[in-house]
Amino acid sequence: MADYSALKEAVIEGNAAEAKALTQAALDEGAIPQDVLDNALIPAMDVVGEKFSAREFYIPEMLIAARAMQSGLALLKPLLVAAHSKSRGKAVIGTVKGDLHDIGKNLVGMMLQGGGFEIIDLGTDVKPARFVETVKAEKPDLLMMSALLTTTMTSMKDTIAALKEAGLRESVRVGVGGAPVTQRFADEVGADFYAPDATGAVTKAKELVTA
């Protein structure tokens, strides 16, 4: 197996230029794109997630690592698509209606990408109807909603009800998160899963797609 330790380091340290250069170098030397993803980028982001859980990395370090990962991933993506490689899973993510906060959601999205998932990010202020339309059209494995305000998190319940009404509830696993969200709230609104931070969200997501 190729030695990806320098590329992994570049991602963990958040050096985007280096991560891009090393990814290109690996491809130039004949590396298989899926291999670079599975054995360099994904393990690097696992380390980043662990460091966040361990309170060694905070948001700045997470974001630059994710950016470095994305700069490598950007080179792999067209080749992965051409090779018809399957992602680990597909997740639709968004911040709920009336809520403009997105850092947490963006972090989860980046960590999921770094975990081999395909992400459809609907942005912020997403109405229940739009979540439902997207689930219908994209048939994702996961729908993950974020809220930062106690006044907007109620929209999560509305979205789950809308999925039921559209006959789509059983087709997708629904996760919720954000500062005011708790396990208890997740249970009350009928979500399938909850995690208190980005690392936890990715762990849960991985468990659900392999289950």
């Binding site: 990395f57 700045p60 370090e61 630059i64 009336g98 809520d99 403009l100 500062a179 931070d197």
Partner: protein
């Protein structure tokens, strides 16, 4: 029971860690201690007070300017003075739901929302030194900011016995996120550090110049300075690592606190949301006299007994009445019980000012606001013998 003190004496005693006659009360006179316009309208009606046009003290948070009759009803011990709006700038409406301020920052209130959030950052596309040089910065010399300031401060000091708070808010950390965008500035701190430092310095230059000109007008009349409202925490941990804080943010906070210490003996108040427990010793080192709002539901901030034991000899706690659960969802009896508990934990030895953990939100019933302040007035008498 002690003889009744004036509000100014009461506040001074508690900020000096002496027990006054009772715990001082605050509503909307500093920062992170107020009431939203919706909750305020409900409160005015509930109190049976005359309807009035409600003025907004703080646009983005939709915080109400609390009127004199309400302040007196609740026996609030403080009155504030702060720089006014500049003559040569008016906020620019953007579409139906947004506005741009004098720093170039755009904020939006989503339909059905209660306040404005950041949606446009003027330096989002450009994180280079030239972006700082080319940005249209506000003019600290604009006379509109200082008009009437001296008269108001002098009036409060000489004609009233309230504790006078100067809101000079020299935040720079959060403001740079607003100028660059949240993700961008986080990444600047980690990987574009020279730019991040230059941006914070440039911002602070302007803020401190405004503070300097304001202090020239009011310095001799004030008792408390609300120095900064730079949040450093999220719900479960700091926004940035302690080493990053100490390297990039703390020196600039030192510049700010030293600026005030050199110019006034007034007590220094710092508003800081979130899980900021790891930084409390740093704040004490900087010369922070009082910390607000003590966000109870943030990790490390909920055990008020522990916080008092660890820091109570040096730090005044300003806030600590729960706004996530008790104020919006509790009964008036539960509100009273919450106030009682916080007084038991934080008031002994002085060093406690009662207010809610940040602004009273639209969903707080007015009877709970009344319960909070009436309980604090009745139960906050020294010596504290409550159980």
């Amino acid at each position: 029971m002690k003889a009744e003190m004036t509000p100014r004496e009461r506040v001074l005693a508690t900020l000096n860690h002496q027990e006054p006659d009772r715990v001082p009360l605050d509503l909307g006179q500093a920062a992170g201690d107020g009431i939203t316009t919706v909750a305020y309208r409900n409160l005015v009606r509930y109190l049976g007070l005359p309807e009035r046009q409600i003025a907004v003290k703080h646009t983005s948070a939709q915080e109400a300017l609390v009127d004199e009759d309400v302040l007196r009803r609740f026996r609030i011990d403080f009155r504030f003075v702060e720089p006014g709006d500049p003559d040569r700038w008016t906020d620019i409406p953007v579409g139906d739901d947004s506005y741009q301020d004098e720093w170039g920052v755009v904020r939006t209130m989503p339909p059905g929302g209660y306040y404005y959030d950041l949606t446009g950052s003027p330096m989002a596309e450009d994180g280079t030194m030239s972006a700082i040089a080319n940005h249209r910065w506000p003019d600290p010399e604009d006379p509109g900011r200082y008009r009437g300031l001296r008269e108001r401060a002098r009036y409060l000091h000489e004609e009233t016995d309230y504790s006078v708070v100067a809101n000079l808010n020299c935040s720079f950390f959060l403001r740079c996120f607003e100028l660059r965008g949240w993700s961008n500035f986080y990444m600047d701190l980690a990987a574009n550090t020279e730019f991040a430092e230059a941006l914070m310095d440039r911002y602070l230059d302007i803020r401190l110049r405004i503070a300097e000109l304001a202090m020239e007008q009011i310095g001799e009349y004030i008792d408390v300075v609300m120095v900064t409202s730079d949040d450093l925490g999220m719900i479960d941990r700091p926004l940035i690592s302690p080493p990053m804080y100490r390297e990039l943010i703390k020196p600039r906070q030192k510049r700010t606190f030293d600026f005030f210490k050199q110019r006034t003996d007034a007590k220094l108040l710092y508003h800081n949301d979130g899980a900021i427990y790891p930084f409390i010793p740093d704040f004490i080192e900087l010369g922070v006299d009082a910390l607000n709002p003590i966000q109870l539901n943030a990790v490390g901030m909920g055990d008020t007994k522990k916080l008092k034991a660890e820091f109570g000899d040096k730090l005044t706690f300003w806030g600590a009445i729960d706004t996530q659960h008790v104020l919006p969802k509790g009964s008036p009896e539960e509100v009273r019980a919450e106030v009682k508990q916080r007084i038991i934990d934080l008031a002994p030895g002085g060093g406690y000012v009662v207010c809610s953990v940040h602004n009273i939100q639209p969903d707080v019933p007015p009877e709970n606001v009344v319960a909070m302040f009436d309980a604090a007035y009745e139960l906050g008498r020294y010596p504290i013998t409550l159980e």
